[in-house]
Amino acid sequence: MGIRLKKRTIMPGFGLSLGVTLFYLCLIVLIPLSAAALKASSLTWHEFWHVVASPRAMASYRLSFGGSLIGATVNLVFGILVAWVLVRYSFPGIRLLDSLVDLPFALPTAVAGISLTAIFAPNGWLGKPLASMGIHVAYTRLGVVIALTFIGLPFVVRTVQPVLEDLDKELEEAAASLGAGRLQTFTRVLLPTILPAAITGFTMAFARAVGEYGSVIFIAGNMPMRTEITPLLIVTKLQEYDYAGATAIAMAMLAVSLALLLPINMLQRWAGSRREKEFLREPELGVGLKPVYGHGEGR
């Protein structure tokens, strides 16, 4: 009959709502974005490469991406732990703790930046004892990693929590009745179930940390080639009115983030679908019961 672009419905207001939405999007997002793309294309490939691959830029990528990777990994491990504790255990104050987990999300980045610096500065609450042991945190790469870890803290916890809450105790009971120890049950039954959600959280924490500015620049020291993060490099170039250079590095940062996130997303979709396929293979007789017609024991 003809291609229908929109399903028929009696609901009113499509034109108005879509119109407002598109108008706003164009004004706020699309027009500025195209200006950026235009500016980026004003550089020749050679100039682009010269800026993007300069030693100073490379050093900043190593710090931003490397530090974010470490921070996201720490959050992966401890996020699963915290989610487990919040869902499975109870103790006085657990509700309060649960709400506080969102603090890095809600706290302005500048506030986080100066607080972390105050804590880890050589005369700070933790900085002083650490300095006496020879560990310097503020104004070093370790400080950057700590700030990047702080930023990503809620992500893994919040993506794993719902999965843990929805988990059926039957799985664990079945595993235990088949002779698995508690650790075995955790690593072979529970962990694979929560892993896709945890990796989602890891990805979100990583993406957030790579672009982070406010929380990091106070504790970082900001020395080029040593403790300068990529967003700071962009700001520095802007202050020198090197718009093209700043845009080039921003584009490079976006490209590398995409290159890193795409395989992670695919990995996670593969992990999620693999689990689905395994569940689909066994007919729904309930956990622990094998079909009468003699399936094999192994998978």
Binding site: L5, K6, K7, T9, I10, M11, P12, L16, S17, L18, V20, T21, Y24, L25, V29, P32, A35, A36, L38, K39, V82, W84, V85, Y89, F91, R95, S99, V101, D102, L103, P104, A106, L107, P108, T109, A110, V111, A112, I114, S115, A118, W125, L126, T149, L153, E172, A176, S177, R182, A207, G211, Y213, G214, P231, I234, V235, Y241, Y243, A250, S257
Partner: protein, 301 residues
């Protein structure tokens, strides 16, 4: 819970085995709780503590004096102005987007959703950069703006625009799942009963999603007042003119005026805590109808 506390007679052995099978030994439990608490103490309690400890470190009088400093006052005023413009505009956008995406099926929906999520996937610095590229001296509109003597970058309009950009997804993102979950049934019923479009919207849709809307607005506001990176790029840091509260914190901190910096920070920290309180309240409230429905179901069964 020691398993020997359960009486041996009269209770099937399976029950004891179950509770032992699905819980860890007590010391493992305490160890895990301890590690989790230590981790959270380091990253959550310490930063909060240091903000209020340093802010009030010189006494309450010095703390309050910070807010009489004219530059601080104008920073607070600029923050409130930017949030006061950004939040209502984003709320209107969020409602419109949630209605268009949640109530209709059309081609290009996922592209639209991706575009709306865009500010979340770019660094705040890049968000500011985009506006500088458009409105700055060397930008696309730069010469036109100079000719008409309009200042956007390094002036208040730029700050408001950057704030709008980084916060516009919040309301839409909170509303959309809610609107999608509600479906069209109630609205269609209202329409068949003769309600107009606007009546349906205000009296059927809005009350259903009010908690998601409130939470989205609160989040949007918190981010609008706390935004640092994007505003830092477009503002030019002109003290008393284009400094918002987060930028002013940076200025005070770099001047070694730590007490004042943390005093202003404490205001924003209080805002963050209030955001968390509202979030818990909204979650609790939105679970109430579900619990009521469940108990109603039990009673009618």
């Amino acid at each position: 819970m020691s398993s020997s506390a359960l009486p041996r007679i009269g209770i099937a052995p399976g029950i004891r085995a179950t509770s032992k099978a699905t819980s860890e030994p007590a010391f493992v439990r305490r160890l895990l709780i301890g590690i989790a608490l230590l981790f959270l103490a380091l990253f959550l309690f310490l930063p909060l503590g240091v903000v209020f400890y340093t802010a009030l470190g010189d006494g309450v009088r010095i703390y309050l004096q910070t807010f009489r400093d004219p530059d601080t006052v104008s920073a607070i005023r600029l923050t409130l102005l930017a949030a006061g413009i950004a939040v209502p505009l984003n709320m209107v956008f969020g409602v419109a987007a949630a209605w268009a995406i949640g109530k209709f099926e059309f081609v290009g929906k996922s592209l639209l959703i991706t575009l709306i999520d865009l500010p979340f996937s770019v660094s705040p610095v890049v968000s500011g950069l985009i506006y500088v590229l458009l409105f700055g001296l060397q930008g696309s509109l730069g010469p036109w703006l100079i000719a008409h003597n309009i200042r956007v970058i390094f002036a208040v309009p730029g700050i408001v625009l950057a704030t709008i950009f980084v916060t516009f997804p919040f309301v839409a993102r909170e509303l959309l799942p809610m609107v999608q979950a509600q479906g069209n049934d109630e609205e269609e019923a209202a329409l068949t009963l003769g309600a107009s479009g606007w009546q349906t919207f205000f009296r059927v849709t809005l009350p259903n999603v009010k908690w998601a809307l409130i939470y989205g607005v609160i989040l949007c506001n918190a981010r609008a007042m706390g935004e640092f990176g994007a505003v830092s790029v477009v503002s030019g840091h002109i003290r008393g003119l284009t400094d918002t509260m987060p930028l002013h914190i940076e200025v005070l901190y770099n001047d070694y005026r730590f007490t004042a910096a943390f005093a202003v920070a404490s205001l924003l920290a209080l805002l963050a805590l209030m955001t968390l309180v509202v979030k818990s309240a909204v979650e609790w409230k939105s679970q109430q109808p579900a619990k009521r429905a469940a108990s109603d179901g039990e009673m009618s069964a």
